[in-house]
Symmetry: C2
């Protein structure tokens, strides 16, 4: 066991399938990616889950916490009422430099609020953003969309910061050599869009640190034409949840068509392996989780429905963000270049 | 030929496949749905297209116009520069009560602006909205989403009007007995969302004229849980174009999976009819077009890529709106009930 391995604090109590699937995913990740997982939560429940998988972990990897933030609870007040909740304890581990990252499939609003309260924002960043990675029509060219829910009312400056942080993440974690940035909008021309989009366009045009490729319309999101797409958290959240739903809707409509007629039934049997691979490709569960970019720590927010494989993928994302020094790169960006003042630029 | 047949003015010069496909679609519609089509555009080109289909129309059904608004032109200035452009002439026919509706696959911004300039708004309506009909997972239960592009910055009162107009259209044209209305948002609770969504929720809750079923998240759009979903035109446009693009993306990803391996190839051949039916179901071209609701005339805006079948479907939509007195019903709604004042309600 090397001491330079990334240490990932995992909220073992968060998510629909916690703690069993979370623990299973953590074990998978530790085996596959040379990381050290720290399971945060109720020790008895964690031990029971480990036992179920015929696994053991040294006591130093089980970090006691009391309770969890329930999905129906209001994030801020619940976090204050439960200082020892698993997500708070996990964030504290990063704050105290006992862990390098947090992974949680629990209450996403609570994870974000806990990160803000305990880790704070990176210098130069006004608002952290949640970034989601979607597959595109180009194999191995996913697109990072941000923000998908952290900030419902945005200013142009926030979107400019999302573009910079997204470019760094795309380059150093997703491996895009020169990430092409798009502004989510309703037309190609710079004059198109709502007030936020028009003013953001002015900030992104000729930006020295990003490769701005103009407006991205809804139909461009999945083509692979853009590597990073920025938008406010309201539009981004609607889009992300629609994308999750549409995959399901299309598969269901296809299934209805496929099961009508004998030929179709025969065809379906032959096609089963192809259909399974296809389902994996459109399924959000395969992508691990969303990044919380802009806080002073690596945080991966996984879907509440996450099972073991998703958690393992989330740990991999966290490890890549750590190994590739994403936070340090964002920070140095804003130390080198003071933020442009949107008021001066947009007149 | 009965004089009570609905008269539909068709912009024969608008769209990527004009005039040939537009004229073909108009002829199909006239044959199928007992309407009288008025073809507006260059008489020579229209005659040539009719000849190509071995068809003839009385001269009274060919309405001369000069030029058309090109896709790259700025709508308002082009409309003023070309008063005799086909879309202007078509709108004038409705204004002069020589036609009951307009169908156009041309420049959609120009169609909307021309409708506003020549027909004006219905009394009580602040902003017209573009409504798009999408298929859902429930067969024969489409969902009407509005606005999908007419108004990028909205006030709560506009969305309230979209809900009322959408409910009437859903009930009387799409045949929904009690249309369930949803507010596009990022969470279920009334406190969720951006400023616009939170204030609109207050207007829709307990609204006497609509069946408000709460917030609709992105993943709910295609489930069939809602019949009418209201949103501002920025979010709606992004969503609609994403939906168009995602169908294509999913089919392409599926195709890639399907063509790998001999079994898959064999399966694809057997499945071809099912896949074709599926493609039709998700293909926006089948749905005819978007409605422009809130102007003092029935206007259907079809996709620029429309071919004959789409235009014929658009004519059918127009006929149903006329036969079911959609405009009269919207108008009487706002005469009966003066509009609620959002400021009083939302405090």
């Amino acid at each position: 066991m090397s001491s330079t391995r990334a240490r990932i604090a995992i909220d073992a109590m968060g998510g629909d399938h916690a703690p069993a699937d979370i623990v299973a995913g953590a074990l998978m990740a530790q085996e596959k990616w040379d990381v050290e997982v720290l399971l945060v939560g109720d020790p008895d429940q964690i031990e029971a889950a480990l036992k179920h998988h015929h696994s053991k972990l040294p006591l130093s990897q089980i970090i006691p916490a009391e309770g969890t933030i329930e999905m129906h609870e209001e994030a801020l007040s619940a976090l204050k009422r439960k200082p020892k909740a698993s997500i708070n304890v996990a964030m504290n581990l990063v704050r105290q430099k006992k862990a390098d990252a947090v992974v949680s499939a629990g209450h996403s609003g609570a994870a974000m609020a806990s990160a803000l309260l305990r880790l704070g924002r990176l210098p130069g960043i006004d608002r952290p953003a949640i970034g989601a990675v979607l597959p595109t029509m180009k194999p191995d060219s996913p697109v990072l969309v941000l923000d998908v829910g952290a900030n419902v009312d945005c200013r142009p400056k926030f979107l400019e910061q999302f573009a910079v942080m997204g470019s760094i993440y795309s380059r150093y974690v997703l491996g895009t050599s020169e990430p092409k940035v798009g502004l989510l909008n309703i037309g190609e021309e710079s004059c198109k869009g709502n007030d936020l989009a028009i003013r953001t366009y002015q900030l992104l045009e000729n930006h020295p640190e990003i490769a701005f490729n103009g407006n991205a319309e809804g139909r461009d999101v999945l083509t692979g034409k853009f590597d990073v797409i920025v938008c406010d958290g309201f539009v981004g959240n609607v889009l992300l949840k629609f994308a999750e739903g549409v995959g399901e809707a299309v598969l269901q409509m296809l299934k209805e068509e496929l099961t009508s007629g004998l030929q179709a039934k025969l065809g379906t049997t032959l096609l089963k392996p192809s259909l399974m691979r296809f389902k994996q490709r459109v399924d959000h569960v395969e992508h691990g989780g969303a990044l919380l970019l802009g806080v002073a720590g690596v945080c991966i927010i996984s879907h509440g429905s996450s099972k073991a494989a998703t958690i393992a993928n989330a740990v991999r994302l966290a490890k890549e963000a750590i190994d590739n020094q994403v936070l340090e790169r964002i920070q140095s960006q804003y130390q080198k270049h003071p933020q442009p003042d949107e008021k001066v630029i947009s007149g």
